[in-house]
């Protein structure tokens, strides 16, 4: 805080001193002008509101003549610039900002100098392709372990701070194991590295990166962005089978699929030449949108809602931009127009899904022995569908079909159309035939195909139904995927974001403020995905590197992971961010493992997280990285770690989501009688990433530890620290069971209490801690000696006083701050 204040005072003083001089220092638009415009002006003179017909969002707009006949800004001519006159006006009715405090004299002087200098506009840094910054000179080159350390140390040098010393070996080993795999190290690992010293830290990092648990840990991060869930969302929130996508993400991380390919397969895998089954499953990324199966809803409305969500999610995940504002109007402060939103929308507007209960289109997956039969049936069904469509478009049916259309206003005819299609059909029929779009014709074709009495169609339909029944009997697992229609839906600007208020027609394109699509890239989702991961795109690498950074250090270099726009939070270290972004693309060639490896090998990462009161005061959130990260484990890790150290965790991977124990009666949906069916055997103890995720009723212990509902994309989980969390880890039967299991492990060990602590922390307890735990053990033992029935109910075994007392100790160990935190 004080640093900024001093900076500000110096600047302000300089402004006053130089005010009278002929040559003012060069004004930085991004640093001195834009923040004031955004904070004080664009609320009324910006993207949404253009009071007095003035917008200060783009330079060309700001230079135009406003309603008053005056120009707000005339470059090089402060005397003719109405803006200057108004911000300095003495009449409160004329002075800007209206009804608010005046700008400071220094701010006014800055505006004057800026206009004198020609009122140059600059692009916001995030929209300019990053360049590799030169490595800065640092005070202590010996400290450097990775190039990223130069940028951190240079910052500390500037402030005359020094980095913390390296964390103790066992602490560092636990930190890196939790960071890379989401699980703590085994005491044997710690021993091997820290005591026996026959495994180096570097080799251990490589080992962790090669474990299958790596993919499970990082998938959790990605699934928040993908808004992956096992239910459809909205009011009914019925089940959805899409876990094969979750498995795809885990495999992609484990195979270290480069991030550019990872991007392209998820956004446009279906459009790749000869798309594989895996690439089709990847596209389920955007089938995680919600489906509204509530009666009476309009399928077209919710199809549009799903496309909107795909646009917003794509922008949040890859571009760190809150694009959703632009859906209804121009962006209030970032340079994106309403039209550009729908040009981008057009990339996503031609897929075959349309809010159907069946989640069509889906990819069926057959058990091995049924797969041949299954694919034969699939191709027969496709042939029959084509035949039906050919028949309804045949000349023989044209007249009949027209008659049918004219009768659609009759209740008994429209009544045969599925309820959720009725409005759309009415809209199509109301459109003159020559004006109908391909999608409208297609919709009508499909409705007619299901209703026509034509004998040929009737026969084909019943054949198709038979094949479908046969396929259904094979019990395939259907995964929703993206599939492009054989034609492009017309895309219009939707006024105020409403699916009914269609404005100008637009073609697929990317916004002008960003570099254009790569040459030769197709104007479809594939081209759009290639554009996102092109070398010129200024945002993708920065946003992604920043995400990984936040996962490791607890706070992003840009704290607002989801907003790199002008209202987002300022970078804590601009060069570090650009270095990481360029390095991710060029040095690591988009390899996520390689990138993470360099981060955890850095000296910055290895610092101890110990902190003094003064350091907390100077930098409470460790933005300057003068110490190592210390923050609470996320929901998944809290669960997985407890199961792991107690020996319960199942290493089984993949497959349908599981239902570990949760309190009864939480699933109470008036529209859905499904119940939580507690899993048995191994499936009770799977990693959290496999837990069934129902959007409206999230698994309670995980929700208590801040996991999101996943209704929409979520970049950041805000960490909390509440008594409810204490109740989970003390009393949730899952955690009690973990304590019982840990107690059994302890019972078998020679030195039970110390062993329990070591299983949990990877290192043996300090004598003081041991004293406390021993006392607890003694007290518990005394209680259970006198109360046998209590020991039986706690352990489920009679005559188990020792086990009961150890369970109490285990329960305490699993609740220690050190256990719940990454240190």
């Amino acid at each position: 805080m004080s640093r900024y204040w001093i900076g500000f005072t110096v600047l302000a003083t300089a402004g006053i001193l130089l005010g009278g001089c002929k040559r003012a220092p060069e004004i930085s638009f991004n640093e001195q002008i834009r923040p004031v415009l955004n904070d004080r002006c664009v609320n009324c003179h910006g993207g949404i509101r253009r009071q007095g017909d003035l917008s200060l969002l783009f330079r060309h707009e700001a230079l135009m003549t406003a309603e008053s006949g005056e120009k707000a800004i005339v470059p090089f001519e402060p005397a003719e610039s109405e803006l200057l006159r108004r911000i300095a006006h003495t009449d409160p009715d004329l002075r800007m900002p209206k009804d608010d405090s005046a700008l400071t004299p220094e701010e006014i002087q800055t505006f004057r100098s800026w206009i004198e200098q020609g009122a140059p506009w600059e692009d916001h840094w995030a929209y300019v392709t990053p360049e590799r910054p030169p490595l800065p000179k640092v005070s202590n080159p010996d400290w450097i372990r990775d190039s990223l350390d130069y940028f951190v140390l240079a910052r500390l040098d500037e402030m005359d701070w020094s980095p913390q010393s390296e964390a103790d070996c066992p602490v560092l080993i636990r930190r890196v194991s939790l960071d890379l795999t989401g699980l703590p190290p085994s005491p044997a690992d710690v021993n091997q590295i820290c005591i026996a010293e026959d495994l180096s830290y570097e080799d251990y990092v490589d080992l962790l990166l090669s474990l299958p648990t790596y993919g499970e840990r990082w998938a959790s991060m990605w699934l928040d962005l993908a808004r992956y869930a096992d239910s459809q969302g909205y009011e009914k929130d019925l089940g959805r089978t899409i876990w094969r996508y979750r498995d795809w993400v885990i495999r992609a991380f484990n195979e270290d699929m480069p991030f550019d390919q990872f991007t392209i397969e998820q956004l446009a895998g279906d459009l790749l030449p000869g798309a594989t089954e895996s690439q089709l499953i990847a596209t389920a990324f955007h089938r995680n949108t919600m489906t509204n199966t509530e009666g009476g809803t309009d399928d077209e409305e919710f199809r549009v809602a799903a496309v909107v969500d795909r646009v917003n999610t794509t922008w949040e995940v890859w571009q760190g931009t809150t694009f959703s504002c632009v859906q209804c109007h121009g962006h209030p402060y970032d340079p994106f127009t309403h039209r550009e939103y729908f040009e981008f929308f057009a990339f996503f507007n031609s897929t075959a899904d349309r809010d159907l209960d069946s989640e069509y289109p889906t990819l069926p997956f057959f058990e091995e022995e049924k797969s041949t039969e299954g694919s034969v049936l699939m191709s027969e069904i496709t042939k029959l569908e084509d035949a039906i469509l050919a028949q309804i478009r045949s000349d023989s049916l044209v007249a009949l079909r027209r008659t049918w259309e004219t009768t659609l206003n009759q209740p008994e005819v429209i009544g045969r159309v599925p309820l959720m299609k009725q409005n759309e059909v009415k809209r199509v029929v109301a459109t003159p035939e020559k004006d109908r779009g391909d999608a409208q014709i297609w919709t009508l074709d499909h409705v007619y195909a299901n209703l026509s009495d034509d004998p040929v169609i009737t026969r084909l339909r019943s054949e198709k139904r038979e094949k479908e029944r046969a396929m259904h009997a094979l019990n395939p697992i259907h995964t929703p995927i993206m599939q492009e229609l054989p034609f492009q839906r017309r895309t219009h600007v939707l006024e105020r974001g409403s699916f009914l208020l269609k404005g100008d027609r637009v073609a697929p394109d990317t916004p002008d403020v960003l570099p254009a699509m790569p040459e030769g890239a197709p104007r479809n989702r594939l081209g759009m995905a290639q554009w996102l991961v092109s070398d010129e795109n200024p945002l993708t690498a920065r946003v992604t590197a920043n995400r990984f950074w936040e996962q490791i250090f607890g706070t992003g270099i840009v704290e607002s992971l989801e907003d790199f726009g002008t209202q987002g939070l300022e970078r804590s270290n601009a060069d570090l961010l650009d270095y990481l972004a360029v390095s991710f693309m060029e040095d690591h060639d988009w390899s996520m493992k390689s990138f993470l490896r360099s981060v955890v090998l850095s000296a910055t990462y290895r610092q101890s997280s110990h902190v003094t009161e003064e350091a907390i005061r100077m930098d409470p959130h460790n933005r300057n990285l003068a110490r190592g990260p210390r923050f609470r484990l996320n929901a998944e890790k809290v669960r997985d770690q407890a199961l792991q150290v107690s020996g319960l965790l199942s290493s089984k991977m993949y497959g349908p989501s599981v239902m570990p124990p949760q309190p009864e009666g939480l699933w109470k949906n008036p529209y859905d009688s499904r119940q939580w069916q507690t899993s048995e055997g191994d499936n009770r103890y799977r990693r959290a990433v496999y837990t069934y995720w129902r959007r409206t009723v999230p698994y309670p212990s995980m929700a208590t530890f801040d996991s999101p509902s996943r209704e929409v994309c979520m970049s950041r989980r805000i960490r909390t620290n509440t008594p409810l969390q204490a109740l989970v880890t003390l009393n949730d039967p899952v955690f009690v069971e973990a304590a019982q299991a840990l107690a059994k492990r302890m019972l078998r060990a020679e030195d039970s209490i110390a062993a329990g602590y070591t299983y949990a922390m990877g290192t043996s307890p300090a004598p003081e801690d041991m004293d406390v735990l021993s006392t607890l053990y003694t007290d518990a033992f005394a209680h259970y000696t006198e109360n046998h029935e209590d020991s039986a109910s706690l352990t489920g075994e009679s005559g188990s006083i020792d086990l009961a007392a150890l369970t109490i100790v285990a329960n305490a160990i699993l609740n220690l701050d050190q256990f719940l935190m990454k240190e």
């Binding site: 009666g295 409005n423 009914l500 939070l569 300022e570 110990h610 902190v611 003094t612 009161e613 907390i616 210390r630 923050f631 609470r632 009666g665 309670p700 212990s701 909390t720 620290n721 008594p723 409810l724 204490a726 109740l727 003390l730 009393n731 039967p733 030195d751 039970s752 209490i753 110390a754 003081e768 801690d769 041991m770 004293d771 406390v772 021993s774 006392t775 607890l776 053990y777 003694t778 007290d779 518990a780 033992f781 005394a782 209590d790 020991s791 039986a792 706690l794 352990t795 006083i801 020792d802 009961a804 007392a805 109490i808 305490a812 609740n815 220690l816 701050d817 050190q818 719940l820 240190e823």
Partner: protein, 480 residues
Amino acid sequence: MSLINEARHTYLGHITRRHFLKSAGAGLGAMAFASLGTASAVAPSAPGPHFAPKAKRVIFLHMAGGPSQLELFDYKPDLARLDGQDCPESLLEGKRFAFIRGIPKMLGPQASFQQHGESGAWISNHLPHLGRVVDKIAFLKAMHTDEFNHAPAQLLVHSGSPRLGRPSMGSWVTYGLGSENENLPAFVVLLSGGVAPDAGASVYGSGFLPTVYQGVQCRTKGDPVLFLGDPDGVPRSLRRKTIDAINSINQQQHEEVGDPEILTRISQYEMAFRMQTSVPEAMDISREPSYIHELYGTEPGETAFSNNCLLARRLVERGVRFVQLFHWGWDSHGAGESESLDGGFLHRCRETDRPVTALLTDIDQRGLLEETLVIWGGEFGRTPMLENRSGSDNPYVGRDHHSDVYTMWMAGGGIQGGITHGETDEIGYSAVSGRVHVHDLQATILHLLGFDHERLTYPFQGRDFRLTDVHGHVVHKVLA
């Protein structure tokens, strides 16, 4: 062998010789830890009020979905005459609605009205009880908001911003005033109506304020708070000792690593322990006398708005600072029976009228009303037009969301009862006088609690944030 020796004997098998020797040297008995107890702060110290507060506690009855003011409080006989006529286009120009398309028809009041109390306030026949307490109430008939969809509008009411991430009012208030009861959360949330608020837990989240200020949801069935009960076979005494052990090791950890988060964790474990006794006690309405159950219409064990009203009284009685109720089901579009003025709306009236009246009566009789501010209202109101979703008529009678004007009311702590502030035009579509924005309401609530809303701030991201953002004027006319 004495018990303690037997324990020691078994214990010997579990610790190393080194540890034992050290422990024995210190003496086992000497290792017992005093409870860290209430000495450690539950939360960072509260900034405290700027001037003497009129109200010390708040009960906010949020009628989620947006109840229709035209069927409850805003009596518009002229609207009845226009019933069934096309809405004049002049009323629609430049307006946004959630569902209305094209030209809707006007819809007359679906209620009859009578005046009540000395103040002569108009109340509809759907609220037969409320008339009895109407002289305690100040109506705000020209409320307005910026948002016309549920989630953002609910966020605006509770956090001052339509977007996620800001602290809720309950969090601001508990941050400002601290807690009056160390054994209960200072900010409790009670849900009824079968559906959580549209904006989810964010409407009672702490945003960027420390998380100790977030609202804690309590339930009327099962564990009142999930996982509140100790595991089978763990008596309270042993739970106490467990928490002592955890906190004592955490204290040592803090001395070593210095992270203030550890101190928060210590206080949260203490709080969790106290909550285990105090929450079930506070949440148990079964021992309330029968006349109280009669008054509220409560049945112990149900998840119902009436039970939540009675709980609200029990909680404020115990010093809970902010009790937030949400009762879902006021979204009377007419698209289905449950959400129509001739269906679900009437049920909501029946479910809420008696308990709300009972709550005001009960806390008044106990002398609590004077220092307890009670607020009733939704996130927006409803249009005087009949909703015609997507251009076609709805099967039931309903109205669309309306953000320009709606009614809320306040009573108790520092509020002048028996008055009406704000007036709407003859059809209840726009305000004529006394407009009160959501931010003004918030400024007024904070004022009653002793805060200048412009000075109750919290630094975040280089700026001092406040509940009312850069807006808000105290509505002095409703103050006693």
